[in-house]
Amino acid sequence: MVKLVHSPYPSGHRQSIVHNETNIRISIRDLNIWYASARAVKDVSLDIEKNKVTAIIGPSGCGKSTLIRAVNRMNDIIPGVKVKGEILLDGKNIYDEDIDVVTIRKMVGMVFQRSNPFPKSIFENVAYGLKINGFPGKKKLAERIEQSLKDAALWDEVKDRLGDSALDLSGGQQQRLCIARALAVEPEVVLFDEPCSALDPVATARIEELIQELKEKYTIVIVTHNMQQAARISDFCTFLMLGELIEFDKTDKIFTTPSKKVTEDYITGRFG
């Protein structure tokens, strides 16, 4: 069933978009985030659909990273950050008092801007998330690691050297290893915070391809400063500027007939 969803919030940030309501996994409601005293995210509301890729674009410093890091509460570890508003994950607000952050982070995986494998072996990197959760059984562990590496399209390249240091891999391989590591704990949502910004075009293409495959199983949110990338891989697209949500729609609509002038200016490369 397809239906028009109206944001309950008045003026300025009203968003309307075609969503299949039953498929909504994450609802961000009137989110505000402050760093010390500066407001980095202002009254943002948007819905993220299951098994789709939702991209967040905008000029640097627009609050995209801050917004995506709010979804698994990674902003918690930065001193002085204050969050107001709600993020509903399957209907439950992750900022509620009785929520255990650790559980949230297990359900919402994250891949960072710069690949950050631990200085351990390839195997131990992927096993890390499982081991800390007390994953039982050596054989099962190995199976799960193999599956995760396959899902991350890395298995064929590393299957003969799982014991090697992860730091010996190339940049693109390291990033796919980080993806495998995130997938191993079986999250429902995977957040990508500019995952290709440090990679060459070939490695970037592989990651993009991979993200396309991953949406079969996972809900994906990706922050990118690369508009072509957003156009290539996302189903929905959010345009953020100076912390405000300017436009949120289906990707092809945003890139063909944006409803706001600023969006058009940005997409056509007039600034940013």
Partner: protein, 284 residues
């Protein structure tokens, strides 16, 4: 123009000679101690008890005593120091408590060593009733080196990149899992360096053990942590100031000084080398 150039030449020359003088001071000390000390050092000197009222024989009890005191100090200070560093770098938020703790650490580092000796005397020797013993001296030295260990451990923890912590937390690890499984293993070599420097400091100190642990002469080797001991630094001091036969004792003091200097500077040198290599090798 020429005057300016001449000025520069002379100025830099003066700076350079200052640095050379400082280096010469180090080499003079090392040279004199080594040149005369080496003459008395042999296997017997290192492995035998003193004889004939400290005018002959070896310095084994002093070497052992310094070893025991240092071990005791590090066993006490290392866990405390590492734990404090973990709190300060991983848990604490900037605020009044942290400021107070930092003031405590900074000022503890500046307390004169003889004052530590008095504290040890009043608290460990008398109040706790440990007497003049390895335990009292070791604990006193432990407090003395605590700031060194905290600072070195903090430095080691801070060089572990934040991205490691983020990666771990994002996988659903708890804070403690992140610290114990990711942060600590990557900080361990830096912490080691810090504790090695602490060991060097503890081994060389005299004033803190003066009234808490040492004795000039004991006929037996120490048997437990409650025994009083001989120690290398105090041995040198006592040979130079309390002896009755300087002509026989000064050579022994040279030997003991060479042993102490090689021990302490050897330890420091190892720490410095490890640290430099570690800094260079860091891959992340």
């Amino acid at each position: 123009m020429d005057i300016r150039k001449t000025k520069e030449f002379i100025g830099f020359g003066v700076l350079k000679s200052a640095a050379v003088i400082v280096l010469l001071a180090l080499f003079a000390i090392l040279y004199f101690v080594a040149a005369r000390g080496i003459k008395v050092i042999n296997w017997e000197f290192l492995t035998q008890m003193p004889r004939s009222g400290m005018t002959a024989g070896g310095i084994l009890p002093a070497i052992l005593g310094t070893f025991y005191l240092t071990i005791c100090a590090i066993c006490f200070a290392l866990p405390l120091g590492v734990a404090a560093a973990i709190y300060l770098t991983e848990y604490a938020k900037q605020g009044r408590l942290v400021r107070i703790i930092r003031i405590g650490i900074n000022n503890l580092a500046g307390v004169p060593s003889v004052v530590f000796g008095l504290f040890g005397l009043a608290v460990f020797v008398k109040f706790c009733g440990f007497g003049i013993s390895i335990l009292s001296g070791g604990l006193t030295l432990g407090i003395l080196i605590l700031p060194t260990i905290i600072r070195a451990s903090e430095e080691a923890l801070m060089v572990v990149p934040r991205s490691f912590r983020e990666a771990s937390l994002a996988l659903g690890a708890t804070k403690w899992q992140t610290i114990s499984k990711v942060v600590l293993p990557n900080a361990v070599s830096g912490m080691l360096t810090g504790s090695i420097l602490g060991i060097g400091r503890a081994a060389g100190e005299t004033a803190p053990i003066l009234f808490t642990a040492v004795t000039f002469y004991s006929a037996r080797l120490p048997r437990s942590v409650f025994s009083e001991v001989q120690a290398l630094p105090y041995h040198i001091y006592a040979l130079m100031t309390e002896g009755t036969h300087p002509e026989a004792q000064i050579p022994i003091a040279y030997g003991a000084a060479l042993v102490l200097v090689s021990l302490v500077l050897g330890i420091d040198l190892i720490a410095i080398i490890i640290r430099n290599r570690f800094r260079r090798r860091k891959k992340w």
